[in-house]
Amino acid sequence: MSSTTIGLIGIILLVALFIIRMPIGFSMAFVGFLGFSFVTSLKSGMSILPRDLFEQLNNYSISAITMFILMGYYAFSAGLGTRLYDAAYKIFGNVKGGLAISSIFACAAFGAICGSSTATAATMGKLAIPAMKRYGYNNTLATGCIASAGTLGILIPPSVIFLIYGFMTEQSIGKLFISGIIPGIILAIFMSIAVIIMCIIDPTCGPKGEKVAFIEKVKAFIKIFDVLLLFILVIGGLLFGFFTPTQAGGIGAAGALVTGIIRRELTWKSFIENTKGALRTSVMILTIIACATVFGHFMTISKIPFALSNWVKSLNVPHYMIMFIIILIYLIGGCFIDAIPLIILTIPILYPIVISYGYDPIWFGVIIVLVTCMGVITPPVGVNIYVIKGIAKDVPLETIFKGIFPFLIAIILTTIILIFFPNIATFLPNLINY
Protein backbone atom coordinates (compact mmCIF):
# COMPACT_ATOMS: atom_id res chain seq x y z
CA MET A 1 0.00 0.00 0.00
CA SER A 2 1.41 3.41 -0.92
CA SER A 3 1.88 6.05 1.76
CA THR A 4 -0.66 8.30 -0.03
CA THR A 5 -3.30 5.56 0.17
CA ILE A 6 -2.56 5.17 3.90
CA GLY A 7 -2.92 8.95 4.23
CA LEU A 8 -6.34 8.85 2.54
CA ILE A 9 -7.47 5.98 4.78
CA GLY A 10 -6.24 8.06 7.74
CA ILE A 11 -8.41 11.01 6.68
CA ILE A 12 -11.47 8.75 6.32
CA LEU A 13 -10.78 7.22 9.76
CA LEU A 14 -10.44 10.70 11.24
CA VAL A 15 -13.81 11.77 9.86
CA ALA A 16 -15.35 8.53 11.22
CA LEU A 17 -13.94 9.27 14.68
CA PHE A 18 -15.32 12.82 14.50
CA ILE A 19 -18.75 11.41 13.64
CA ILE A 20 -18.78 9.02 16.63
CA ARG A 21 -18.04 11.97 18.97
CA MET A 22 -14.42 11.32 19.87
CA PRO A 23 -12.93 14.66 21.02
CA ILE A 24 -11.46 16.34 17.91
CA GLY A 25 -7.97 16.78 19.38
CA PHE A 26 -7.75 13.20 20.63
CA SER A 27 -8.99 11.90 17.24
CA MET A 28 -6.20 13.74 15.43
CA ALA A 29 -3.52 12.47 17.84
CA PHE A 30 -4.89 8.93 17.63
CA VAL A 31 -5.07 8.77 13.82
CA GLY A 32 -1.74 10.59 13.54
CA PHE A 33 -0.11 8.03 15.81
CA LEU A 34 -1.69 5.06 14.01
CA GLY A 35 -0.83 6.36 10.55
CA PHE A 36 2.72 7.34 11.47
CA SER A 37 3.28 3.91 13.04
CA PHE A 38 1.89 2.21 9.94
CA VAL A 39 4.08 4.14 7.52
CA THR A 40 7.26 3.99 9.63
CA SER A 41 7.21 1.64 12.63
CA LEU A 42 5.28 1.23 15.89
CA LYS A 43 8.38 2.26 17.84
CA SER A 44 8.70 5.55 15.91
CA GLY A 45 4.98 6.20 16.28
CA MET A 46 5.08 5.66 20.03
CA SER A 47 8.12 7.84 20.43
CA ILE A 48 6.77 10.72 18.31
CA LEU A 49 3.46 10.92 20.19
CA PRO A 50 4.60 12.46 23.52
CA ARG A 51 7.44 14.39 21.84
CA ASP A 52 5.15 16.15 19.38
CA LEU A 53 2.63 17.02 22.07
CA PHE A 54 5.23 18.22 24.55
CA GLU A 55 7.26 20.20 22.03
CA GLN A 56 4.18 21.97 20.71
CA LEU A 57 2.88 22.88 24.17
CA ASN A 58 6.40 23.98 25.10
CA ASN A 59 6.58 26.26 22.04
CA TYR A 60 7.12 29.97 22.77
CA SER A 61 5.36 31.14 19.57
CA ILE A 62 2.16 29.38 20.53
CA SER A 63 2.06 31.25 23.86
CA ALA A 64 0.89 34.34 21.90
CA ILE A 65 -2.49 32.59 21.57
CA THR A 66 -2.71 32.15 25.35
CA MET A 67 -1.72 35.78 25.98
CA PHE A 68 -4.27 37.22 23.52
CA ILE A 69 -7.01 35.01 24.98
CA LEU A 70 -6.05 36.34 28.42
CA MET A 71 -6.25 39.89 27.05
CA GLY A 72 -9.79 39.29 25.75
CA TYR A 73 -10.97 37.90 29.09
CA TYR A 74 -9.39 40.74 31.07
CA ALA A 75 -10.91 43.30 28.67
CA PHE A 76 -14.29 41.74 29.36
CA SER A 77 -13.81 41.81 33.14
CA ALA A 78 -12.59 45.44 32.94
CA GLY A 79 -16.00 46.47 31.60
CA LEU A 80 -14.55 47.78 28.33
CA GLY A 81 -17.44 46.20 26.42
CA THR A 82 -20.01 48.17 28.43
CA ARG A 83 -18.37 51.51 27.68
CA LEU A 84 -17.97 50.65 23.98
CA TYR A 85 -21.62 49.72 23.70
CA ASP A 86 -22.64 52.87 25.57
CA ALA A 87 -20.59 55.06 23.19
CA ALA A 88 -21.87 53.32 20.06
CA TYR A 89 -25.45 53.55 21.30
CA LYS A 90 -25.17 57.29 21.96
CA ILE A 91 -23.69 57.89 18.51
CA PHE A 92 -25.94 55.66 16.35
CA GLY A 93 -28.93 54.95 18.60
CA ASN A 94 -31.22 57.68 17.28
CA VAL A 95 -31.74 56.28 13.77
CA LYS A 96 -34.03 53.45 12.66
CA GLY A 97 -32.30 50.19 13.52
CA GLY A 98 -29.78 52.36 15.37
CA LEU A 99 -29.42 50.01 18.31
CA ALA A 100 -28.54 47.15 15.97
CA ILE A 101 -26.04 49.36 14.09
CA SER A 102 -24.60 50.48 17.45
CA SER A 103 -24.16 46.84 18.42
CA ILE A 104 -22.36 46.08 15.16
CA PHE A 105 -19.87 48.92 15.65
CA ALA A 106 -19.50 48.11 19.34
CA CYS A 107 -18.66 44.51 18.31
CA ALA A 108 -16.11 45.87 15.81
CA ALA A 109 -14.54 48.04 18.52
CA PHE A 110 -14.56 45.22 21.07
CA GLY A 111 -12.95 43.06 18.38
CA ALA A 112 -10.05 45.51 18.49
CA ILE A 113 -9.22 44.36 22.02
CA CYS A 114 -10.56 40.81 21.97
CA GLY A 115 -9.65 38.13 19.46
CA SER A 116 -12.60 35.80 19.84
CA SER A 117 -15.95 35.82 18.07
CA THR A 118 -17.77 34.02 20.88
CA ALA A 119 -16.40 36.38 23.56
CA THR A 120 -17.42 39.38 21.43
CA ALA A 121 -20.92 37.98 20.82
CA ALA A 122 -21.33 37.07 24.50
CA THR A 123 -20.11 40.45 25.78
CA MET A 124 -22.23 42.50 23.41
CA GLY A 125 -25.18 40.13 23.56
CA LYS A 126 -25.52 40.62 27.32
CA LEU A 127 -25.63 44.41 26.81
CA ALA A 128 -27.39 44.87 23.48
CA ILE A 129 -30.12 42.22 23.42
CA PRO A 130 -31.92 43.44 26.59
CA ALA A 131 -31.61 47.04 25.32
CA MET A 132 -33.05 46.13 21.90
CA LYS A 133 -35.89 44.19 23.54
CA ARG A 134 -36.67 47.21 25.70
CA TYR A 135 -37.05 49.36 22.58
CA GLY A 136 -39.32 46.81 20.88
CA TYR A 137 -36.80 45.41 18.42
CA ASN A 138 -37.77 42.32 16.52
CA ASN A 139 -36.13 39.19 18.07
CA THR A 140 -34.92 38.04 14.65
CA LEU A 141 -32.99 41.26 14.07
CA ALA A 142 -31.73 41.61 17.65
CA THR A 143 -30.31 38.10 18.02
CA GLY A 144 -29.19 37.59 14.42
CA CYS A 145 -27.37 40.91 14.43
CA ILE A 146 -25.33 40.19 17.58
CA ALA A 147 -24.55 36.57 16.63
CA SER A 148 -23.24 37.77 13.26
CA ALA A 149 -21.48 40.95 14.41
CA GLY A 150 -19.61 38.85 16.99
CA THR A 151 -17.63 37.49 14.04
CA LEU A 152 -15.98 40.91 13.69
CA GLY A 153 -14.04 39.88 16.80
CA ILE A 154 -11.94 37.47 14.73
CA LEU A 155 -11.55 39.72 11.69
CA ILE A 156 -10.50 42.94 13.40
CA PRO A 157 -7.13 42.51 15.14
CA PRO A 158 -6.14 40.95 17.46
CA SER A 159 -7.57 37.68 16.28
CA VAL A 160 -7.07 34.14 17.57
CA ILE A 161 -7.78 32.74 14.08
CA PHE A 162 -5.07 34.95 12.52
CA LEU A 163 -2.69 33.82 15.27
CA ILE A 164 -3.38 30.15 14.56
CA TYR A 165 -3.10 30.69 10.80
CA GLY A 166 0.12 32.68 11.19
CA PHE A 167 1.56 30.07 13.51
CA MET A 168 0.75 27.24 11.08
CA THR A 169 1.91 28.99 7.91
CA GLU A 170 4.81 30.96 9.44
CA GLN A 171 3.40 34.28 8.25
CA SER A 172 4.01 37.58 10.06
CA ILE A 173 1.39 37.99 12.79
CA GLY A 174 1.66 41.79 12.55
CA LYS A 175 0.91 41.74 8.80
CA LEU A 176 -1.94 39.30 9.26
CA PHE A 177 -3.44 41.43 12.01
CA ILE A 178 -3.52 44.65 10.00
CA SER A 179 -4.76 42.88 6.89
CA GLY A 180 -8.04 42.34 8.75
CA ILE A 181 -8.69 46.03 9.52
CA ILE A 182 -10.12 47.23 6.17
CA PRO A 183 -12.16 44.06 5.48
CA GLY A 184 -13.42 44.31 9.08
CA ILE A 185 -14.62 47.88 8.53
CA ILE A 186 -16.20 46.92 5.18
CA LEU A 187 -17.99 44.00 6.84
CA ALA A 188 -19.26 46.24 9.66
CA ILE A 189 -20.61 48.70 7.04
CA PHE A 190 -22.25 45.89 5.02
CA MET A 191 -23.85 44.52 8.18
CA SER A 192 -25.17 48.00 9.01
CA ILE A 193 -26.59 48.27 5.47
CA ALA A 194 -28.30 44.90 6.05
CA VAL A 195 -29.92 46.37 9.18
CA ILE A 196 -31.07 49.47 7.28
CA ILE A 197 -32.57 47.34 4.49
CA MET A 198 -34.35 45.16 7.07
CA CYS A 199 -35.77 48.31 8.69
CA ILE A 200 -36.90 49.68 5.31
CA ILE A 201 -38.71 46.40 4.52
CA ASP A 202 -40.27 46.21 7.97
CA PRO A 203 -40.11 49.57 9.82
CA THR A 204 -41.37 47.99 13.06
CA CYS A 205 -38.42 45.63 13.39
CA GLY A 206 -35.96 48.32 14.55
CA PRO A 207 -37.50 51.47 16.04
CA LYS A 208 -35.48 54.59 16.84
CA GLY A 209 -33.72 54.90 20.21
CA GLU A 210 -33.61 57.94 22.48
CA LYS A 211 -32.22 61.22 21.15
CA VAL A 212 -28.86 62.04 22.74
CA ALA A 213 -27.36 65.55 23.00
CA PHE A 214 -24.13 66.17 21.07
CA ILE A 215 -22.15 66.82 24.25
CA GLU A 216 -23.26 63.44 25.62
CA LYS A 217 -21.98 61.81 22.44
CA VAL A 218 -18.59 63.49 22.88
CA LYS A 219 -18.45 62.46 26.55
CA ALA A 220 -19.25 58.83 25.66
CA PHE A 221 -16.55 58.88 23.01
CA ILE A 222 -13.97 60.24 25.46
CA LYS A 223 -14.80 57.39 27.83
CA ILE A 224 -13.54 54.82 25.29
CA PHE A 225 -10.19 56.56 24.93
CA ASP A 226 -8.49 53.81 26.98
CA VAL A 227 -9.73 51.16 24.52
CA LEU A 228 -8.24 53.11 21.64
CA LEU A 229 -4.99 53.51 23.55
CA LEU A 230 -4.85 49.78 24.30
CA PHE A 231 -5.44 48.94 20.63
CA ILE A 232 -2.70 51.35 19.46
CA LEU A 233 -0.28 50.04 22.08
CA VAL A 234 -0.82 46.37 21.24
CA ILE A 235 -1.22 46.46 17.45
CA GLY A 236 1.17 49.41 16.95
CA GLY A 237 3.80 47.78 19.16
CA LEU A 238 3.47 44.55 17.22
CA LEU A 239 3.54 46.25 13.81
CA PHE A 240 6.58 48.37 14.47
CA GLY A 241 8.50 45.44 15.88
CA PHE A 242 8.47 46.80 19.41
CA PHE A 243 6.88 43.62 20.75
CA THR A 244 6.80 39.98 19.72
CA PRO A 245 3.22 38.62 19.40
CA THR A 246 3.48 36.99 22.85
CA GLN A 247 4.73 40.24 24.39
CA ALA A 248 1.98 42.23 22.64
CA GLY A 249 -0.67 39.88 24.03
CA GLY A 250 0.86 40.09 27.51
CA ILE A 251 1.01 43.89 27.39
CA GLY A 252 -2.59 43.98 26.15
CA ALA A 253 -3.68 41.73 29.03
CA ALA A 254 -1.80 43.93 31.51
CA GLY A 255 -3.33 47.08 29.95
CA ALA A 256 -6.85 45.67 30.25
CA LEU A 257 -6.12 44.62 33.84
CA VAL A 258 -4.79 48.08 34.78
CA THR A 259 -7.81 49.76 33.12
CA GLY A 260 -10.14 47.54 35.13
CA ILE A 261 -8.31 48.36 38.38
CA ILE A 262 -8.23 52.13 37.72
CA ARG A 263 -11.92 52.20 36.79
CA ARG A 264 -12.76 49.94 39.77
CA GLU A 265 -14.54 47.50 37.49
CA LEU A 266 -12.27 44.57 38.24
CA THR A 267 -12.77 42.54 41.41
CA TRP A 268 -10.56 39.78 42.79
CA LYS A 269 -13.34 37.30 42.05
CA SER A 270 -13.74 38.39 38.43
CA PHE A 271 -9.93 38.38 38.00
CA ILE A 272 -9.76 34.73 39.11
CA GLU A 273 -12.85 33.73 37.15
CA ASN A 274 -11.56 35.34 33.96
CA THR A 275 -8.08 33.86 34.39
CA LYS A 276 -9.76 30.45 34.70
CA GLY A 277 -11.91 31.22 31.66
CA ALA A 278 -8.84 32.16 29.63
CA LEU A 279 -7.08 29.00 30.79
CA ARG A 280 -10.02 26.78 29.77
CA THR A 281 -10.22 28.35 26.30
CA SER A 282 -6.43 28.09 25.89
CA VAL A 283 -6.49 24.42 26.94
CA MET A 284 -9.18 23.72 24.36
CA ILE A 285 -7.28 25.44 21.51
CA LEU A 286 -3.75 24.36 22.42
CA THR A 287 -4.75 20.72 22.94
CA ILE A 288 -6.13 20.65 19.40
CA ILE A 289 -3.03 22.39 17.99
CA ALA A 290 -0.69 19.98 19.81
CA CYS A 291 -2.67 16.91 18.76
CA ALA A 292 -2.86 18.22 15.18
CA THR A 293 0.95 18.24 15.07
CA VAL A 294 0.95 14.43 15.37
CA PHE A 295 -1.63 14.24 12.59
CA GLY A 296 0.37 16.79 10.57
CA HIS A 297 3.47 14.58 10.80
CA PHE A 298 1.45 11.67 9.49
CA MET A 299 0.13 13.80 6.62
CA THR A 300 3.67 14.93 5.76
CA ILE A 301 5.10 11.40 5.56
CA SER A 302 2.03 10.19 3.67
CA LYS A 303 2.78 12.97 1.12
CA ILE A 304 -0.95 13.79 0.89
CA PRO A 305 -0.52 17.61 0.64
CA PHE A 306 1.95 17.26 -2.25
CA ALA A 307 -0.10 14.58 -4.01
CA LEU A 308 -3.23 16.71 -3.66
CA SER A 309 -1.42 19.82 -4.87
CA ASN A 310 -0.09 17.96 -7.93
CA TRP A 311 -3.48 16.42 -8.65
CA VAL A 312 -5.25 19.77 -8.47
CA LYS A 313 -2.67 21.31 -10.82
CA SER A 314 -3.10 18.45 -13.29
CA LEU A 315 -6.82 19.27 -13.54
CA ASN A 316 -6.02 22.42 -15.52
CA VAL A 317 -8.96 24.35 -14.14
CA PRO A 318 -8.87 28.15 -13.68
CA HIS A 319 -7.41 29.59 -10.45
CA TYR A 320 -10.63 31.16 -9.30
CA MET A 321 -12.41 27.80 -9.65
CA ILE A 322 -9.90 26.20 -7.26
CA MET A 323 -10.35 29.07 -4.82
CA PHE A 324 -14.12 28.69 -5.10
CA ILE A 325 -13.86 24.97 -4.29
CA ILE A 326 -11.57 25.67 -1.31
CA ILE A 327 -14.02 28.25 0.04
CA LEU A 328 -16.84 25.74 -0.49
CA ILE A 329 -14.87 23.12 1.47
CA TYR A 330 -14.59 25.57 4.39
CA LEU A 331 -18.23 26.59 4.10
CA ILE A 332 -19.51 23.02 4.15
CA GLY A 333 -16.88 21.89 6.68
CA GLY A 334 -17.74 24.86 8.89
CA CYS A 335 -21.31 23.59 9.12
CA PHE A 336 -20.12 20.37 10.74
CA ILE A 337 -16.88 21.10 12.61
CA ASP A 338 -15.92 24.06 14.78
CA ALA A 339 -13.84 26.71 13.05
CA ILE A 340 -10.58 26.25 14.94
CA PRO A 341 -10.17 22.48 14.45
CA LEU A 342 -11.30 22.85 10.84
CA ILE A 343 -8.54 25.39 10.16
CA ILE A 344 -5.91 23.41 12.05
CA LEU A 345 -6.88 20.29 10.14
CA THR A 346 -7.12 21.73 6.64
CA ILE A 347 -4.43 24.41 6.46
CA PRO A 348 -1.51 21.95 6.16
CA ILE A 349 -3.34 20.21 3.30
CA LEU A 350 -4.85 23.15 1.39
CA TYR A 351 -2.26 25.89 2.02
CA PRO A 352 0.36 24.36 -0.36
CA ILE A 353 -2.24 24.31 -3.17
CA VAL A 354 -3.14 27.97 -2.62
CA ILE A 355 0.50 29.03 -2.55
CA SER A 356 1.36 26.95 -5.63
CA TYR A 357 -1.22 29.02 -7.54
CA GLY A 358 0.59 32.20 -6.55
CA TYR A 359 -2.02 33.54 -4.14
CA ASP A 360 -0.84 35.91 -1.42
CA PRO A 361 -0.66 34.01 1.92
CA ILE A 362 -1.77 37.12 3.86
CA TRP A 363 -4.79 37.55 1.58
CA PHE A 364 -5.62 33.86 1.98
CA GLY A 365 -5.45 34.35 5.75
CA VAL A 366 -8.18 37.01 5.51
CA ILE A 367 -10.28 34.72 3.29
CA ILE A 368 -9.87 31.92 5.85
CA VAL A 369 -11.05 34.26 8.62
CA LEU A 370 -14.06 35.34 6.53
CA VAL A 371 -15.13 31.76 5.82
CA THR A 372 -14.63 31.07 9.53
CA CYS A 373 -17.01 33.97 10.20
CA MET A 374 -19.59 32.16 8.08
CA GLY A 375 -18.89 28.87 9.86
CA VAL A 376 -19.52 30.26 13.35
CA ILE A 377 -23.02 31.46 12.42
CA THR A 378 -24.24 28.67 10.12
CA PRO A 379 -26.24 25.71 11.41
CA PRO A 380 -25.95 23.16 12.87
CA VAL A 381 -22.58 23.87 14.58
CA GLY A 382 -22.67 27.73 14.47
CA VAL A 383 -21.21 28.36 17.92
CA ASN A 384 -22.23 32.05 18.06
CA ILE A 385 -25.87 31.07 17.64
CA TYR A 386 -25.68 28.95 20.80
CA VAL A 387 -23.90 31.74 22.68
CA ILE A 388 -26.78 34.09 21.82
CA LYS A 389 -29.36 31.41 22.62
CA GLY A 390 -27.74 31.17 26.09
CA ILE A 391 -28.34 34.91 26.56
CA ALA A 392 -31.78 35.21 24.91
CA LYS A 393 -33.24 31.98 26.34
CA ASP A 394 -36.81 32.84 25.33
CA VAL A 395 -35.91 33.22 21.63
CA PRO A 396 -36.19 29.96 19.62
CA LEU A 397 -33.07 28.77 17.78
CA GLU A 398 -34.92 28.95 14.45
CA THR A 399 -35.54 32.69 15.00
CA ILE A 400 -31.80 33.27 15.57
CA PHE A 401 -30.88 31.19 12.51
CA LYS A 402 -33.41 33.18 10.47
CA GLY A 403 -31.91 36.40 11.78
CA ILE A 404 -28.37 35.64 10.65
CA PHE A 405 -29.21 35.31 6.94
CA PRO A 406 -29.02 39.02 5.96
CA PHE A 407 -25.68 39.20 7.77
CA LEU A 408 -24.44 36.01 6.17
CA ILE A 409 -25.07 37.69 2.82
CA ALA A 410 -22.98 40.64 4.07
CA ILE A 411 -20.08 38.27 4.87
CA ILE A 412 -20.41 36.51 1.50
CA LEU A 413 -20.39 39.89 -0.28
CA THR A 414 -17.26 40.97 1.63
CA THR A 415 -15.58 37.68 0.65
CA ILE A 416 -16.50 38.14 -3.03
CA ILE A 417 -15.18 41.71 -3.00
CA LEU A 418 -11.94 40.48 -1.46
CA ILE A 419 -11.56 37.77 -4.09
CA PHE A 420 -11.90 40.31 -6.90
CA PHE A 421 -9.98 43.08 -5.13
CA PRO A 422 -7.30 41.34 -3.04
CA ASN A 423 -5.52 44.67 -2.53
CA ILE A 424 -8.13 45.56 0.07
CA ALA A 425 -6.52 42.98 2.35
CA THR A 426 -2.91 43.35 1.24
CA PHE A 427 -2.72 47.15 1.00
CA LEU A 428 -1.94 47.81 4.68
CA PRO A 429 0.44 44.85 5.16
CA ASN A 430 2.37 45.89 2.04
CA LEU A 431 3.12 49.26 3.64
CA ILE A 432 5.27 47.47 6.21
CA ASN A 433 8.72 46.45 5.13
CA TYR A 434 9.85 43.47 7.18
Partner: protein, 160 residues
Amino acid sequence: MERYEKYLRRLCEYLEWAGVLGILCMFFANLIDVIGAKFFKWPLPGALEIISFSQIVAITPAIALGLYLGTHLSVDFIVEKFPRVLKKILAIFVSILCLALAVLIFWEGLKYAHSLKLSGEIGSVSKIPFFPFVYVFAISWLPVILYYLIELIKHFKGER
Protein backbone atom coordinates in the same frame (compact mmCIF):
# COMPACT_ATOMS: atom_id res chain seq x y z
CA MET B 1 -18.46 4.74 41.43
CA GLU B 2 -19.97 8.16 42.09
CA ARG B 3 -17.65 8.61 45.08
CA TYR B 4 -14.56 7.98 42.92
CA GLU B 5 -15.90 10.29 40.26
CA LYS B 6 -16.34 13.00 42.88
CA TYR B 7 -12.76 12.52 44.10
CA LEU B 8 -11.43 12.61 40.56
CA ARG B 9 -13.35 15.75 39.72
CA ARG B 10 -12.00 17.41 42.85
CA LEU B 11 -8.47 16.35 41.87
CA CYS B 12 -9.02 17.83 38.40
CA GLU B 13 -10.21 21.08 39.97
CA TYR B 14 -7.06 21.24 42.11
CA LEU B 15 -5.00 20.58 39.01
CA GLU B 16 -6.74 23.47 37.30
CA TRP B 17 -5.42 25.71 40.05
CA ALA B 18 -1.92 24.57 39.05
CA GLY B 19 -2.90 25.66 35.53
CA VAL B 20 -4.03 29.06 36.83
CA LEU B 21 -0.64 29.49 38.51
CA GLY B 22 1.04 28.47 35.26
CA ILE B 23 -0.86 30.98 33.12
CA LEU B 24 -0.21 33.77 35.66
CA CYS B 25 3.46 32.82 35.69
CA MET B 26 3.46 33.12 31.87
CA PHE B 27 1.77 36.49 32.11
CA PHE B 28 4.07 37.96 34.76
CA ALA B 29 7.26 36.54 33.21
CA ASN B 30 6.18 38.13 29.94
CA LEU B 31 5.43 41.44 31.62
CA ILE B 32 8.70 41.54 33.59
CA ASP B 33 10.59 40.70 30.39
CA VAL B 34 8.92 43.47 28.33
CA ILE B 35 9.13 46.17 31.00
CA GLY B 36 12.70 45.15 31.88
CA ALA B 37 13.82 45.08 28.23
CA LYS B 38 12.10 48.27 27.08
CA PHE B 39 12.60 50.54 30.08
CA PHE B 40 15.58 49.23 32.06
CA LYS B 41 17.57 47.44 29.35
CA TRP B 42 17.36 44.30 31.47
CA PRO B 43 15.23 41.62 29.83
CA LEU B 44 14.32 38.69 32.04
CA PRO B 45 17.10 36.13 31.45
CA GLY B 46 15.66 33.02 29.79
CA ALA B 47 12.20 34.62 29.55
CA LEU B 48 11.30 32.57 26.46
CA GLU B 49 12.07 29.31 28.22
CA ILE B 50 10.32 30.36 31.44
CA ILE B 51 7.18 31.27 29.45
CA SER B 52 7.31 28.02 27.46
CA PHE B 53 7.78 25.87 30.56
CA SER B 54 5.02 27.78 32.36
CA GLN B 55 2.76 27.01 29.43
CA ILE B 56 3.28 23.29 30.07
CA VAL B 57 2.33 23.84 33.73
CA ALA B 58 -0.69 25.90 32.64
CA ILE B 59 -2.14 23.72 29.91
CA THR B 60 -1.47 20.04 30.64
CA PRO B 61 -2.83 19.78 34.22
CA ALA B 62 -6.06 21.44 33.07
CA ILE B 63 -6.75 19.00 30.20
CA ALA B 64 -8.60 16.53 32.46
CA LEU B 65 -11.05 19.09 33.89
CA GLY B 66 -11.97 20.04 30.31
CA LEU B 67 -13.45 16.53 29.98
CA TYR B 68 -15.81 17.20 32.88
CA LEU B 69 -16.65 20.70 31.69
CA GLY B 70 -17.16 19.52 28.11
CA THR B 71 -14.76 22.13 26.74
CA HIS B 72 -12.91 19.69 24.48
CA LEU B 73 -14.59 20.13 21.12
CA SER B 74 -16.34 17.21 19.48
CA VAL B 75 -18.96 16.77 16.76
CA ASP B 76 -22.11 16.07 18.78
CA PHE B 77 -25.10 16.56 16.57
CA ILE B 78 -24.70 13.41 14.43
CA VAL B 79 -24.50 10.94 17.35
CA GLU B 80 -27.48 12.67 18.96
CA LYS B 81 -29.64 11.35 16.12
CA PHE B 82 -28.59 7.71 16.67
CA PRO B 83 -30.69 5.19 18.64
CA ARG B 84 -29.87 4.89 22.37
CA VAL B 85 -28.20 1.46 22.13
CA LEU B 86 -25.94 2.50 19.26
CA LYS B 87 -25.08 5.69 21.13
CA LYS B 88 -24.01 3.64 24.14
CA ILE B 89 -21.91 1.24 22.04
CA LEU B 90 -20.18 4.17 20.35
CA ALA B 91 -19.57 5.93 23.68
CA ILE B 92 -17.88 2.74 25.00
CA PHE B 93 -15.79 2.48 21.85
CA VAL B 94 -14.72 6.14 22.06
CA SER B 95 -13.85 5.75 25.75
CA ILE B 96 -11.68 2.71 24.94
CA LEU B 97 -9.83 4.61 22.19
CA CYS B 98 -9.31 7.69 24.38
CA LEU B 99 -8.17 5.49 27.26
CA ALA B 100 -5.65 3.74 25.00
CA LEU B 101 -4.38 7.08 23.71
CA ALA B 102 -4.04 8.57 27.21
CA VAL B 103 -2.22 5.46 28.52
CA LEU B 104 0.15 5.64 25.56
CA ILE B 105 0.90 9.35 26.05
CA PHE B 106 1.34 8.84 29.81
CA TRP B 107 3.69 5.87 29.47
CA GLU B 108 5.70 7.17 26.54
CA GLY B 109 5.81 10.59 28.22
CA LEU B 110 7.36 9.04 31.32
CA LYS B 111 9.93 7.26 29.16
CA TYR B 112 10.68 10.52 27.32
CA ALA B 113 11.09 12.38 30.64
CA HIS B 114 13.41 9.68 31.93
CA SER B 115 15.53 9.87 28.78
CA LEU B 116 15.81 13.67 29.18
CA LYS B 117 16.78 13.22 32.82
CA LEU B 118 19.56 10.85 31.83
CA SER B 119 20.80 13.08 29.02
CA GLY B 120 20.66 16.12 31.34
CA GLU B 121 19.09 18.40 28.72
CA ILE B 122 18.62 21.96 29.99
CA GLY B 123 17.30 25.28 28.64
CA SER B 124 20.07 27.09 26.76
CA VAL B 125 19.68 30.40 28.65
CA SER B 126 17.65 29.67 31.78
CA LYS B 127 19.61 26.44 32.49
CA ILE B 128 16.34 24.97 33.74
CA PRO B 129 16.23 21.21 33.15
CA PHE B 130 13.56 19.97 30.73
CA PHE B 131 12.71 16.68 32.40
CA PRO B 132 10.54 17.92 35.33
CA PHE B 133 8.20 19.58 32.83
CA VAL B 134 7.97 16.42 30.74
CA TYR B 135 7.07 14.57 33.94
CA VAL B 136 4.38 17.21 34.63
CA PHE B 137 3.14 16.70 31.07
CA ALA B 138 3.09 12.89 31.37
CA ILE B 139 1.53 12.74 34.86
CA SER B 140 -1.19 15.18 33.74
CA TRP B 141 -2.58 12.39 31.56
CA LEU B 142 -3.18 10.20 34.62
CA PRO B 143 -6.51 11.89 35.52
CA VAL B 144 -7.51 11.58 31.86
CA ILE B 145 -6.88 7.81 32.11
CA LEU B 146 -8.92 7.64 35.33
CA TYR B 147 -11.72 9.67 33.75
CA TYR B 148 -12.12 7.25 30.87
CA LEU B 149 -11.73 4.22 33.18
CA ILE B 150 -14.60 5.49 35.34
CA GLU B 151 -16.62 6.25 32.19
CA LEU B 152 -16.12 2.68 30.97
CA ILE B 153 -17.00 1.11 34.34
CA LYS B 154 -20.13 3.26 34.52
CA HIS B 155 -21.12 2.18 31.03
CA PHE B 156 -20.66 -1.49 31.86
CA LYS B 157 -22.51 -1.12 35.16
CA GLY B 158 -25.37 0.54 33.31
CA GLU B 159 -24.96 3.82 35.18
CA ARG B 160 -24.71 5.76 31.92
